[in-house]
């Protein structure tokens, strides 16, 4: 899980052009969107595409489940680990 979380953090940084942010700056359990890291809805779409490409997992747009999966690095990693192709 640890290696995957580092991978996901790097994927977030590269995909979303987060200049000046290091993987260590992204908390494992904190919110990625709005209050936490400050990502927005366009980032969510972009991240969905990147995760689908990298791990071959399918993500339902706009479902309540997706919101839970995208909450933090931790929830994303759990989702990817459970669904990756």
């Amino acid at each position: 899980m640890n290696a995957l979380s580092e991978e996901v953090k790097q994927l977030i940084i590269d995909t979303l052009d987060l200049e000046d942010i290091e993987p260590a700056d992204i908390d494992y359990e904190d919110a990625l969107f709005v209050d936490g890291l400050g990502l927005d809805s366009i980032d969510a779409l972009e991240l969905g595409v990147a995760i689908k490409k990298a791990y071959d997992v399918k993500i339902d747009n706009n479902s309540e489940d997706s919101k839970k999966h995208f909450y933090s690095v931790k929830t994303l990693c759990e989702f990817i680990a459970a669904n990756r192709g």
Binding site: E19, V49, K52
Partner: protein, 258 residues
């Protein structure tokens, strides 16, 4: 069509300040192909990260030209090619059957930079995005001044931007193109009595005439210069008039003081 210009901000071809542009117009300072971009440090990093060179050039000029009326000024965003670097990348992805990036797609549309401007400034005034071939710059002035006069706006912001086209399209471009942006804060011409006249305030007039059929005198080719650069040359040189000929039109620029 008469109007006045409250502020002009241009960036491109290695020229970034009023003084640079004066030297370009008055002393023949040459443009270079280097693409140094404005830093836009005033914008939060989370918003700035999505800005392409095209968007950075546009927003720098727009924010500087309209700094006193950012939240309220109506605007016209103009570009001949738009952010073609972005569009071209998307088209390549389509051809390669890659999944398209939603962000790149959203930011490649012609009104994307106007949208970024509106989000950053909280400006909800009418905004349009236009493209009109090699005549884009002057057509944008026509559009802006017509809109301003018809709606009785106290001012309107015109933002023209071009970046060099991707290599694959370069063979189709006849003009000598530079990556550049120019923003004008335009105000109405009011025929005030002489006593109310601000001293030395220039009044500009732009007149369009269609070239007569078979008129070979002006040539059938595109103007080798970008129209915006012809305008900036006129604006900063201080001359009273200039004529700019394109494939379809002849444009007259005049400057008077009241």
């Amino acid at each position: 069509m008469k109007f006045t210009i409250k502020k002009c901000v241009a960036w491109g071809g290695g020229l970034t300040t009023d003084q640079d542009w004066q030297e370009f117009a008055q002393k023949g300072k040459e443009l270079s192909l280097e693409q140094d971009l404005p830093a836009l440090k005033q914008m939060p990093a989370m918003q700035r990260r999505r800005l392409s060179p095209f968007a950075k050039l546009s927003l720098h000029c727009a924010l500087s030209a309209a700094e006193d009326c950012l939240a309220t000024v109506p605007s016209v965003f103009a570009s001949r090619h738009g952010d073609l670097q972005k569009t071209s990348k998307l088209i390549s992805d389509v051809a390669a059957k890659e999944v398209l990036s939603p962000t790149q797609f959203g930011l490649s549309v012609h009104n994307a930079v106007g949208g970024l401007f509106s989000i950053y400034t909280g400006n909800k005034a009418p905004l349009s995005a236009i493209s009109a071939g090699e005549d884009t710059f002057f057509v944008a002035i026509l559009d802006a001044v017509s809109k301003m006069n018809y709606n009785a706006y106290p001012q309107i912001l015109l933002v023209y931007t071009e970046t060099q086209v991707p290599e694959i399209y370069a063979q189709y471009v006849a003009q000598e193109e530079y990556s550049m942006s120019c923003a004008l804060l335009i105000e109405p011409f009011q025929s005030a009595s002489a006593s109310e006249c601000e001293e030395d305030k220039a009044i500009f007039e732009l007149t369009l005439s269609n070239k007569e059929q078979g008129d070979k005198s002006a040539g059938d080719d595109e103007n080798p210069h970008m129209q915006a650069l012809d305008f900036l040359h006129f604006y900063y040189s201080g001359v009273e008039q200039a004529e700019v000929v394109s494939k379809r039109h002849t444009w007259q620029l005049k400057r008077t003081t009241c």
